[in-house]
Symmetry: C2
Subunit: 306 residues, 2 copies
């Protein structure tokens, strides 16, 4: 699966649009229309979420390789929200996009296996295979050790899918645990070495289907991790709204110009609310998102000299 993502990156850019439709980002006219048609309730919001996502995807699918829906932003609305997540994943796949489910699951063995089957694999019922959700990649939390990660890798190998394991997250308090020193090195380095090892079981060309998450907000750590994990693709959140810039991200990439994919969520999907793109207005939110993607593309490709 990583080879498919790389192929799409080479035709476009190493960027991913985070489809994290918080209520406050959804343009008023979409909410009003859905409330009128369906009701001012979770079902109405879920309808508006899908229309919002569809508008953005239709405007940018030809210039990006992948999307990353954050499932929490759907799960918060219960079943109707998760139906919107499912529809979004399916729609993005129809448009040819690689879908990274930002689900950060991780549990003991049999339970992680269920998450892996449900999101990137399938279940067998009466000899027939069914998919729960239909992501291509999922993000995985490694707090439980190999037991919690290996069931995902098994699915990657069996069904040609991928994962990104949390190594150094973008948030301010990530260091409380991840920066602590163990045997003379910080935990994120230890996790990086574990991801590198796990990745050897799932190579797909020059890179592994087992990737890592390293926040744009920690460029120095990214530089170190790039060297520790030479065959690992890095998913880089934290660009834009969380403070990361293209120039900070150079060292997340390998010399082949590959090895990283940078996510922006609100910077793209809520571009219409920023001064820079305010001329578009809420009516043309999708055009604002396209303009923001083009600017991000220029920033990132400029920084890595592509």
């Amino acid at each position: 699966m990583i080879s498919r993502l790389i192929e799409k990156i080479q035709k476009t850019a190493p960027i991913v649009v985070g489809l994290d439709p918080q209520l406050k980002f959804i343009p008023e006219q979409l909410l009003k229309a859905s409330y009128k048609e369906i009701g001012e309730n979770p079902e109405g919001v879920a309808d508006a979420i899908f229309k919002f996502n569809k508008g953005i995807v239709d405007a940018v699918y030809d210039i990006i390789p992948a999307v990353k829906p954050q499932i929490a932003m759907y799960e918060v609305f219960g079943i109707p929200g998760l139906i919107a997540f499912d529809k979004t994943v399916k729609y993005c796949r129809e448009k040819g996009l690689v879908v990274i489910g930002d689900i950060k699951r991780g549990d003991i063995g049999s339970t992680s296996a269920a998450y892996a089957q449900g999101h990137i694999g399938s279940v067998e019922i009466g000899g027939k295979k069914f998919r729960g959700f239909e992501e291509d990649f999922a993000t995985v939390n490694p707090y439980l050790g190999s037991d919690g990660v290996k069931p995902f890798i098994d699915i990657c190998n069996a069904e040609d899918r991928g994962i990104f394991v949390l190594v150094k997250t973008s948030n301010p308090s990530s260091g409380e645990l991840q920066d602590k020193m163990v045997d003379g090195a910080p935990i994120y380095e230890m996790m990086g070495r574990m991801v590198d090892e796990w990745g050897k079981e799932s190579m797909d060309g020059a890179y592994s289907n087992v990737g890592a998450v390293v926040g744009a907000t920690y460029p120095e750590q990214g530089k170190v991790l790039r060297k520790i994990m030479p065959h690992t693709f890095i998913l880089v959140p934290g660009y834009g709204a969380q403070g990361g810039k293209g120039a900070d991200l150079v060292h997340f990439f390998n010399e082949d110009g590959l090895g990283a994919i940078v996510n922006s969520s609100r910077g793209i999907i809520a571009a219409y609310t920023q001064d820079k793109y305010s001329k578009f207005g809420a009516e043309n939110f999708a055009d604002a998102s396209r303009a923001a993607v083009l600017d991000m593309k220029e920033d990132i490709l400029g920084a890595i000299g592509r």
Copy 2:
């Protein structure tokens, strides 16, 4: 919320039934009936799951304080599975049980807030509050540090709910990260101290609404953590099928006979498949579950001398 759980424990026992309905545990007659009525598909399985859970809950609700549905076992069947999760949570609450959603969520601030709202809190739409799912407690993964945990604590305080933060998990590889030494102490002790600190913000009587998860499979570590976190309720998975026994669990409890609640999943819900309870047969799976709960109660109460 912890005071409500304690009140129910005092009337019954410090045990919780894990509603983790793997396909292989569901009695054949339930599956056949649901397949016939609905179809041999995820919707059919979800129907059987709910009937299986309902059978067990109806048989044991008067002798237990709480249930712990593991959401992965529902999520694996996609939307129909999650609808069965939602129905199970609601049904258990109707029967007066405390519901611990074993969801192991955790993310950066705004995203953790969405998970917290969706599972133990609520969202506001048009000035009206809606609940996504309706658990009383949720389990939380602390890999991202305080940023990822505090939004859950805010909801605990605002809406009188609770959480259990992963400290030392029951699985064999939990030590790969959790046992590593940081400043002369293992990480699970460091996390225990963090949980103790977080818990001070959310006291509810003698105990905090912020609890911890410590596996029954690690009794020595449980003994140490009990002392580090005197006001923290410990959710103890790993009893029974994973190898833990009542006598191993004495030190998870405080001298007041409280401070811990022990989970058993397949040991209860799939009791009918064990030699010990085989006389019940698959038809009477719920009676087998009740017998297994009574045996577990005797084992645990005997060990703690209540």
